[in-house]
């Protein structure tokens, strides 16, 4: 990363909201924007956890290249026991902790993304470093992340439990995004199989994907990590997104 070209900004920057507006929509496939928990709680990031949000600002093009969203959590159990409903659970838990005034001890990131035109330029490692710096500055013990492996969507018929064991010749994860984390010293803990649950009617799924769903059954959805299950009688399609819990130790 060219140190002077990119700069980390936070919601304290007067234009932050304008700069990050639309970024999420741009980087995710439409159906990923319909997670109930995200819908309900997204505003809490700025309402309760503003000092944990950051973006990477491109001074040359005067726009945001990427964004990282995170919050503090209280988790006293072993990291091996982090729950199956990863992403959705963490968001609820963080908001509840904050409401109840519980003292957090870990840091959880729920999104670290780069705009398409800023990908494959070595910016993901510095983004991750900026998130780890937040963990450190708040004195939290670990950074945990329910990761969405970036290439699993090409292998929707392979279980995520198998997928995370796939390695490159250098014995690093085959998945590019998992590799960035392991390279930065993270440990893969385990799969969280129900990290997000996305429900929609048949016509909503048709709109989100451009596909047709004339019968009940299992469908491959472009950029989904697993197939989606459509039930015509109930007029409901359910996609259950698996993620991978990883943990970064903070020195």
């Amino acid at each position: 990363m060219h140190k002077d070209r990119f700069q980390v900004i936070t919601p304290a920057h007067s234009d932050y909201r304008d700069l990050v507006r639309g970024l999420t929509k741009e980087v995710w496939p439409e159906f990923m924007l319909h997670d109930q928990v995200a819908h309900e709680l997204w505003h809490e990031l700025l309402d309760r956890f503003a000092e944990y949000q950051l973006a990477l600002f491109d001074n040359e093009n005067r726009r945001v290249a990427g964004m990282a969203n995170s919050f503090p959590l209280k988790w006293e159990n072993s990291l091996e026991n982090l729950p199956e409903d990863g992403w959705d659970w963490a968001f609820h838990e963080a908001v509840n902790n904050h409401r109840l005034g519980a003292i957090p001890n870990v840091h959880c990131a729920i999104q670290i993304v780069l705009r398409a035109e800023y990908q494959s330029q070595g910016l993901s490692a510095p983004m991750l470093e900026a998130v780890r710096a937040v963990t450190k500055s708040h004195g939290l013990q670990a950074l945990i992340i329910p990761i969405r492996p970036s290439e699993k969507h090409k292998y929707p018929l392979t279980s995520l439990d198998h997928y995370i064991t796939w390695k490159t010749e250098k014995n690093l994860p085959l998945d590019a995004w998992l590799r960035v984390h392991v390279h930065a010293g993270a440990r893969i803990i385990k799969v969280c199989h129900r990290s997000k649950v996305i429900r929609g009617t048949r016509s909503e799924w048709e709109k989100w994907t451009g596909l047709q769903f004339p019968q009940s059954g299992t469908y491959i959805i472009d950029r989904a990590l697993n197939p989606m299950e459509m039930n015509i009688e109930k007029d409901e399609g359910v996609y259950i997104e698996p993620n991978v819990w990883v943990a970064h130790k903070i020195e």
Binding site: T158, H162, W166, P214, Q215, T218, Y219
Partner: protein, 253 residues
């Protein structure tokens, strides 16, 4: 379509006919589809034995081939409902064997209609189907059958072909665009042929064809394939079995 712009030509009409055909095939099919063993072994027979059943559509303005049509004659006594599961591979071998054994053909089968990507969605496909039927009519055949590849099935690889062909549009025509082209031209769906093509390759070949990795045995989703592919690491072999749909055009005399 401007009919004067597109002209039907035969293999003898263009010195680089087969070259231009190859260009259309390469740009219309996903790479793995070009590795069917039967196709690779027998393709030349279309020109050696059945030249009058091959044709193309020439864009006279650009002087280039816009679409290609390949078919062949074979002998079939039973009802068309008895046509075999082996579909495309089967009919190709059958036609060549009939010809070798001097068995008189009585029916025509389509092998391919491919439109160059630059010329798609311009109504050329129905013109190609008509031109193919005209060949059968000129030979006095009563049927043109076709093991049709339902193109859009690739978006629904987990739906069985038997279910997929029952999907219809609001007008009651087949949901699939290619099946619909034939249906509009008067063809009827006979039934699926579940093993129309069998494409086998080593793990390294499949990796080269698809850009994917196959670290373990199992089923894989392959972009452009109509069903998942089965990879067996111990045997170093991936097998894709392509289902097609037998359709039947009656040819008026």
């Amino acid at each position: 379509m401007n009919t004067s712009r597109f002209q039907i030509i035969k293999p003898g009409d263009l010195p680089d006919y087969r070259n231009q055909e190859g260009g259309i095939a390469d740009s219309s099919w996903p790479e793995f589809m070009l590795h069917d063993a039967i196709a690779n072994e027998y393709w030349h027979e279309l020109f050696d034995r059945f030249s009058e059943y091959q044709f193309a559509l020439l864009d006279t303005e650009a002087n280039r081939m816009a679409a290609m049509g390949n078919s062949l004659p074979f002998h079939w006594e039973a009802d068309v409902s008895e046509l075999p599961e082996g579909g495309w591979d089967w009919v190709f071998v059958k036609a060549v064997e009939d010809h070798r054994n001097a068995i008189k053909p009585n029916i025509q089968s389509a092998i391919q209609i491919a439109i160059h990507p630059d010329y798609q969605n311009q109504g050329l496909s129905s013109k190609m189907v008509q031109a193919m039927r005209a060949i059968g009519a000129s030979k006095g055949f009563r049927h043109l059958v076709a093991p049709v590849r339902p193109n859009q099935k690739s978006k629904y690889p987990l739906i069985s072909i038997d279910d997929y062909i029952t999907w219809t549009s609001e007008e009651g025509l087949p949901f699939d665009a290619w099946l619909r082209v034939h249906a509009r031209a008067g063809a009827k769906i006979i039934k699926p042929c579940h093993e129309a093509m069998i494409i086998r390759g080593t793990r390294a070949e499949w990796e080269a064809w698809t850009g994917l990795k196959f670290p373990q045995s199992g089923q894989y989703f392959i972009p452009g394939a109509l069903n998942p592919m089965e990879m067996n690491i111990e045997k170093d072999k991936g097998v894709y079995v392509e289902p097609n749909v037998w359709m039947e055009h009656r040819i008026e005399e």
